[in-house]
Amino acid sequence: MSPIIEANNVSRTYAGHGGLFRPKSYVRAVEDVSLSVEQGETLAVIGESGSGKSTLGQVLLGLAPASAGDVRFRDAALSPAGSRQWREQRAEMQLIYQDPLAALDPRLTIAEQIREPLDIHQIGTPEERAQRVDEVARDVGLQPVHLSRRPHELSGGQRQRAVIARAMASKPVLLVCDEPVSALDVSIQAQVINTFRRLQRMSGVAMVFISHDLKVVRNIAHRVAVMYLGRIVEEAPADVIFANPQHPYTKALVSSVPIPGKPLGDRVILQGEPPNPAARPSGCAFHPRCPVAVAQCRTSVPELHSNAEHRRVACHLVAEVRGAAA
């Protein structure tokens, strides 16, 4: 089966603010990232702020053009942003982000907002559109009474459901969710996660789930890609990566997750902070914080390559282990 979305060696470079008398600075937000997501699959992208995970989401959707590499959607290159095909593609790929209140128009009712993409893309007759609004609202767990309300009259969880309903109304094949449950309370978060899973089972939508919350990711993702300063450092199925992380950064991330009911034990606490993406360290960008870094890590960038089935790691030391075993 061919993937819904595929990125090949994609990079995205931002030009920083230059001035009349200052040279522009360049920030490599995403660098040499390759990934693919199939129908009905959820790929989680995890990482800390500045890791480039949100930028990657924008590139996959064609909202921010890649500076290098190419993104293929359903076996065809993405159309340039703003073109007619690009606009038509919007119905097939949708974005959900963290703050539902900012994503909704305060003046429109929930029904009007859910219907909007159907009107824009002229999907179905007006009667069919009204029907689809009711249907998708039910799918995400909104009550009929919510449809006539405006965003400020709903709770945070209901608003995010409305945003999800709007995204799903046009029956997209790809959903990019950027921290979709981070702003929600624990009990509401669980409801929304279940909703995502149910929607995927029903529609087979492919999901890219960008999050910093490893526990949420463990529950919802099939595969997980870990990003550090713009690069994927490890990728593996969710059940494998959390049980047996291989990259030192993934190990640190996994051990940094506080487990309810467990006191602070002898877990590995990573020292230092992620460097500024504009001042990327040489070699492996993680080497200044890495507890096991060797001289080679300072000079050469480790390639991301498979060392087991469905597993990719970018670390000189992990590669060596594999080399020794082979």
């Binding site: 800390e48 702020s49 709770s155 945070g156 969880g157 209901q158 309370d185 624990v186 009990s187 509401i188 978060q189 669980a190 409801q191 996660i193 279940n194 899973r197 910093h212 490893l214 526990k215 949420v216 463990r218 529950n219 919802i220 969710a238 059940d239 959390f242 049980a243 640190a252 991330l253 996994v254 051990s255 940094s256 997750v257 506080p258 487990i259 309810p260 009911g261 467990k262 006191p263 602070l264 877990r267 606490i269 990573l270 020292q271 902070e273 992620p274």
Partner: protein
């Protein structure tokens, strides 16, 4: 807890206009203990402590009693509160980057706290600030003394806030969601720092958070809040092993586990009630599977000493008895 508590809150109520957000809180804080206050947004967990220190805006009305070493703080004169704040009870907040005055250098802001609470002045005060910066783990501190807040990351800003809070050698540090805005690895560093500082200084820690994981890492005891009331308190290990209040059970079930699978999460149906339209009985009744007529009409009191629960149908503390009761 044989001796008198360091701090005793009794019947604390807070009202904003027509909506009451805190409905009578009773809590004792022992010297040196670490209490976690957990609950979802709007449950009053932050407001309780802001009210205790008189830090709420003017339109909030507070009643009840907050005694710190016998001294009444609730609606106390401004001068009394100013003497307690920072020196006896310090507080740090969520979003550390915006807690530092953006137009002043951080060094002088820390010196301000030191001169406020000690007799140190001039170079001595600066030396003390550098010592505090080292204590909280700010690298290259002499050079960073003269930087502005925006030149520090979120994690480092929180370290600076902690340093500032330590300047008065407080008896209690109230930390209001101190790690929520931070990245995972930085969160772990700050939790570690708070735990270490508490062991070294012997101060009590009130850790307010929605993150049950973070709370269990630094606290001995937990108070679970729902809709402006404490619904369950007890030792961390006990509450996580044998939660008694249905809300605590639901909250724990809602959290996905890193070593768990991909089954649907057990959720609490519905949403938190609107604070200005609370039901006459238990505020959780509408979302609770165990609720009956009593719950709809009468508010359950917080009963028990040490471990207490506010529920008409609370699970029994002993797990084997609980199994029997549920069967």
């Amino acid at each position: 807890m044989n001796s008198a508590p360091l701090m005793a809150i009794r019947g604390l109520e807070v009202t904003f206009g027509t909506s009451r957000v805190v409905h009578g809180i009773d809590l004792d804080i022992a010297a040196g203990e670490a209490l976690g206050v957990v609950g979802e947004s709007g449950c009053g967990k932050s407001v309780t402590w802001l009210a205790a220190l008189g830090l709420l805006p003017g339109m909030a009305a507070t009643s009840g009693s907050v005694r710190f070493q016998g001294q009444e703080l609730c609606n106390a004169p401004r001068a009394t509160l100013e003497n307690v704040r920072g020196r006896r009870i310090a507080m740090i907040f969520q979003d550390p980057s915006s807690c530092l005055n953006p137009v002043r250098r951080v060094g002088p802001q820390l010196v301000e706290a030191v001169t406020l609470h000690t007799n140190l002045r001039g170079d001595e005060a600066k030396t003390e600030v550098l010592r505090l910066m080292e204590l909280v783990g700010i690298p290259d501190r002499a050079a960073r003394f003269n930087l502005y807040p925006h030149e520090f990351s979120g994690g480092q800003s929180q370290r600076l806030m902690i340093a500032m809070a330590l300047a008065g050698r407080p008896d209690i540090l109230v930390a209001d969601e101190p790690t929520t805005a931070l990245d995972a690895t930085i969160q772990a560093q700050i939790l570690d720092l708070l735990g270490r500082l508490r062991r070294e200084t012997g101060m009590a820690l009130i850790f307010i958070s929605h993150d049950l994981g973070a709370v269990s890492q630094v606290c001995d005891r937990i108070a679970v809040m729902y809709a402006g009331r404490v619904v369950e308190t007890g030792a961390v290990t006990e509450i996580f092993a044998h939660p008694r209040h249905p809300y605590t059970v639901g909250l724990l079930n809602s959290i996905p586990r890193l070593d768990g699978g991909q089954d649907d999460l057990l959720t609490i149906p519905g949403a938190v009630p609107d604070p200005s339209h609370l039901p006459p009985g238990c505020a959780f009744a509408a979302r609770c599977a165990r609720a009956d007529e009593t719950c709809a009409t009468a508010i359950p009191p917080l009963r028990g000493d040490g471990a207490a629960v506010a529920c008409w149908h609370a699970a029994l503390p002993n797990p084997s008895l609980r199994e029997a009761a549920l069967a």
